[in-house]
Every structure is written in structure tokens, then in C-alpha cells.
């Protein structure tokens, strides 16, 4: 650097000017490039990402489904079978507890309890179908837990029933199998992982807030899992089976994540 120290301060503004000029010249040379960059940076540019049929593109949806299946495995690994969902007091119950299904409340199925039987199949020793009095005679427990919907809302409810892990052992289910599948009176179907099925808070629920489970909440029974999102909790169950073949689910087959657990 040969410039004397004194003049280096004086030179600052002129350098600045030169720099600005240089910028301006470049800008003049490449107006198209600048314009493109500017436009890409606007919300309008971003909106090119949205609204378009990206999700409908087959390769994109195949990729997203593959990531969703990968996420199932990650969530299976994250799942701690001994970690309990928080339980709440009576005073914290959400009243009225919201009705939610893939149909309106006037389409809730009517199930005749007097000749109802829970069909059991797959990898189990005792495949006899269970009547409601038989099920009600099993050891009962209850819980006040938070139901979290995939949409984001949550509600605290009070369910009673028998611990599902006890029931699985009672019927001699192969607890090393991967899945338990359910079929329901409202044509809903769903399946869960064995770790969640054996979780101490997973209930085969027959009652809501001390009353026999009303039709709107899934009469005659629902599987209540406070470690899973709402859509994973099937209502109006008529059949269950233990299997190693992935059974899918009503919403899962349309794109909801299969593990769907919190």
C-alpha cells in the first residue's frame, strides 16, 4: 500500500462512489438477470410453488409417501412404551366433548348391542367372538386424557374400559406380531403398531364419563389411545385381527401418516 495514511481517509467517499457506480454498471448490463432475481424473491414468485399441482404430481406424491413411511419408523423408534400421557381432573373435562367423524352426526351407525359380537381373527389362539356382557365382565379401568385431533384441536375426555394389553394376552395374541387391524360398523378401518397396543393407557373403551359409550362416541366400543391422534382411535369396532401384513387405514390410505402418534 503506497497511499499515505492521511489520504486513506479522504479516499473513503470516492471509493464508495466507485463501488456504487460499479454496481450500477453491472445492473445496466444484466437487467434481465436482476429482474428475474427480484421477481423470484417476491411473494408472487413464491406463489409459483403453491397453488400448482405439485402434490398431484405422481413422482412428488410417491416421494412424500415414502418419507411418510420413513417417518413411521422414526416414530416407532421414538415411542417409549413406558411414557404416559398426562391425565387430568374431572374439572378439566371438555364439555360437551366434540363429535367428530368422516360423516355428519345424523349418519352415526346404529349398532344393536343385544346380538353384537366382537369378531377376532389372525395371530391369536382364542378366536371366539365376544358378546358385550362378556366384555363388560372384564376388569375395568378409566382415564381422563387429552384427545388430540390431526387438525390441531384437542379436547379432554373421560373413557372407561378394559386395558387392551390385558385383553390381547387373554385371547393369546401373538404380541411379537407387527400390527393390530380393526374394522368398524361405520365402514371405517384402522391399524396400529403392537407397541402402542401394549401401552398401559391403551383401552378397549366401553363407556364415556361413566355412561355406556353413546353412539356418537363409538358405541359399542372404541379403542382409546391417548398416545395417538384422533383418527387412529377407531369407533364402533366390530372386528379385530392380529397380523404381520400392513393393513392401512381409512385416512392413512388417503395420505395421513400411519403412525399418527404423539
Amino acid at each position: 500500500m503506497t497511499i499515505p495514511k492521511k489520504s486513506s481517509r479522504l479516499i473513503v467517499p470516492s471509493l464508495d462512489r466507485a463501488l456504487i457506480l460499479k454496481d450500477a454498471e453491472k445492473e445496466l448490463k444484466a437487467p434481465a438477470r436482476r429482474l428475474f432475481a427480484k421477481r423470484a424473491l417476491t411473494l408472487g414468485g413464491l406463489s409459483m410453488l403453491t397453488g400448482c399441482q405439485l402434490t398431484d404430481d405422481k413422482s412428488v406424491s410417491t416421494f412424500l409417501s415414502a418419507v411418510s413411511r420413513f417417518n413411521d419408523q422414526v416414530q416407532g423408534m421414538l415411542f417409549d412404551p413406558n411414557r404416559l400421557a398426562p391425565e387430568y381432573s374431572e374439572a378439566m373435562l371438555t364439555k360437551p366433548f366434540p363429535f367428530n367423524a368422516f360423516y355428519e352426526i345424523d349418519s352415526v351407525p346404529v349398532v344393536d348391542g343385544s346380538n353384537y359380537k366382537l369378531a377376532i381373527s389372525g395371530l391369536v389362539q382364542d378366536k371366539h367372538a365376544w358378546s358385550l356382557p362378556e366384555l363388560y365382565a372384564l376388569p375395568q379401568t378409566s382415564q381422563i386424557t387429552r384427545h388430540i385431533c390431526v387438525e390441531g384441536w384437542s379436547a379432554i375426555g373421560h373413557w372407561g374400559g378394559t386395558r387392551f394389553s390385558d385383553f390381547l394376552r387373554r385371547i393369546g395374541a401373538d404380541t411379537t406380531a407387527k400390527y393390530i387391524g380393526f374394522k368398524c360398523a361405520d365402514d371405517y378401518y384402522e391399524s396400529i403398531d403392537m407397541a402402542t397396543a401394549l401401552h398401559p393407557q391403551t383401552l378397549l373403551a366401553f363407556s364415556y364419563d361413566g355412561e355406556i359409550l353413546p353412539p356418537k362416541y363409538g358405541y359399542p366400543m372404541k379403542l382409546r389411545m391417548p398416545t395417538k391422534l384422533g383418527y387412529k382411535n377407531p369407533k364402533h369396532i366390530t372386528e379385530m385381527f392380529v397380523t404381520n401384513t400392513y393393513p392401512g387405514g381409512y385416512w392413512v390410505d388417503q395420505g395421513y401418516n400411519w403412525f399418527g402418534g404423539s
Binding site: 500500500m1 410453488l49 412424500l64 418419507v67 416414530q75 388430540i148 390441531g152 384437542s154 395420505g255 395421513y256
Partner: protein, 215 residues
């Protein structure tokens, strides 16, 4: 003041050797910056669609044409796919920043006084950008807040996604329902940061080049 003369000298060197101006943003900063930016854009747009399924604030919904995913299920798939990009790029960004010492060199010290001074200069059009290798106090605060907002977004997101598996995060956020509010507010902050950030880049276009070619 010393910074200004230093800056001027650096510019001088740059002007003399136009072929090799000094490297301002190393390659890992540029790669993680753009990956994080893409992930944040995807997560915000898909997050808006998820939000619309059950708005945290009744009456406040995001127009569907601004969202990504087409429906709740599609938006969730985008959200939980982009999550991995954000996780990887933001983690690499944070770790390399800390281990190379860049984090402490570039973002500190930052004093409230300097922020107010630089903000006043900026608003009166007297804040120079001669030396892009050096952050002014407003930039330091803005980038640090963006980093913190991203950390809050990830933490509240995990509390929502895995409210049973991460009880500590859930309680830290004030419970499941509150975690959604925290997640929303941190998103709003990141969107605000994004808008200001992009406006600033438009005002000082050279800064875009430093994030593209590093110089």
C-alpha cells in the same frame, strides 16, 4: 470507527485484485442458508394449510391459494418431509457456526445501544454497507432473533407433534394447546423476518451475490 477504515481497506484490496475478492460467506454458510430457506418456505406454506384445518385464532385463516399441500393430509406430508431438510441444514449451520467460532465472531458483541444507533442510521439512510463481511448491530440482532425463532419453532413443533414423548418440551411450552400458539407466533416472526430480509437484499443487491458466490 476502526471498522469503517478496515472496511475501506478491504474494499480497496478488492478493487485492486478483482479476480479474488475476499471470501465473505464460506460454502457451508451458503449451502445451509439456502437449504434452510427452502425448508422454512415449504414448512411455512404447508403449515398455513395445517393451521387452516383448525385455526388457533378463530376468524384468522390463510387463503388456500397461498398454501402448500392441497389438503390437510398433503400439507402434513410436505411439513413432515421438509422437517428433515430443516433439521439437517439448521443443525449443520449451528454446529459449524459454533465450532468454527464464526458465531461469536460475526454476531457478538451486540449491545442494545449499538442496535439503536444503527437502527437510527438505517432509518435516516446513513447506514453504510461498504463492508459486507461485517454485520451491523441491527443485522446481528435480526439474524440472532431468526436463529432463536427457528429454535423455538422446532421446540414448539416437537411439543405439538410428540406431546407425550417430550413432556419437558410440552411443559416448557405451557401444554399442548399453548404450544400451538407459541408455534404460530414464532412462525409469524420468521415470516416478518423473511419479508424484511428480502426487502433489505433488494436494497443492497450485492449482499445476494455474497450469499451465492461467497464474495
Amino acid at each position: 470507527m476502526t471498522n469503517e477504515t478496515e472496511g475501506a481497506e478491504r474494499v480497496e484490496v478488492a478493487a485492486r485484485a478483482p479476480t479474488k475478492p475476499p471470501l465473505i460467506n464460506p460454502i457451508w454458510v451458503r449451502v445451509t442458508h439456502w437449504c434452510t430457506a427452502l425448508a422454512v418456505i415449504l414448512m411455512v406454506l404447508s403449515g398455513w394449510r395445517i393451521y387452516d384445518a383448525s385455526p388457533v385464532f378463530p376468524g384468522l385463516t390463510i387463503p388456500a391459494q397461498w398454501t402448500l399441500g392441497g389438503w390437510l393430509g398433503g400439507a402434513l406430508q410436505w411439513h413432515f418431509a421438509a422437517m428433515w431438510l430443516l433439521f439437517a441444514s439448521f443443525l449443520v449451520y449451528l454446529l459449524l457456526n459454533i465450532f468454527t467460532g464464526r458465531f461469536f465472531r460475526k454476531f457478538f458483541p451486540v449491545s442494545p445501544r449499538a442496535v439503536i444507533e444503527d437502527l437510527y442510521k438505517a432509518l435516516t439512510g446513513r447506514l453504510g454497507h461498504e463492508d459486507l463481511s461485517h454485520f451491523n448491530a441491527v443485522q446481528k440482532l435480526a439474524y440472532l432473533s431468526a436463529i432463536i425463532a427457528l429454535i423455538v419453532l422446532v421446540a414448539s413443533g416437537l411439543a405439538i407433534w410428540k406431546s407425550v414423548q417430550f413432556p419437558l418440551l410440552r411443559e416448557l411450552m405451557g401444554g399442548y394447546d399453548n404450544a400451538r400458539i407459541v408455534h404460530f407466533c414464532a412462525m409469524a416472526f420468521i415470516v416478518l423476518f423473511f419479508l424484511v430480509h428480502v426487502a433489505m437484499v433488494a436494497l443492497v443487491p450485492r449482499s445476494l451475490l455474497t450469499m451465492l458466490r461467497g464474495r
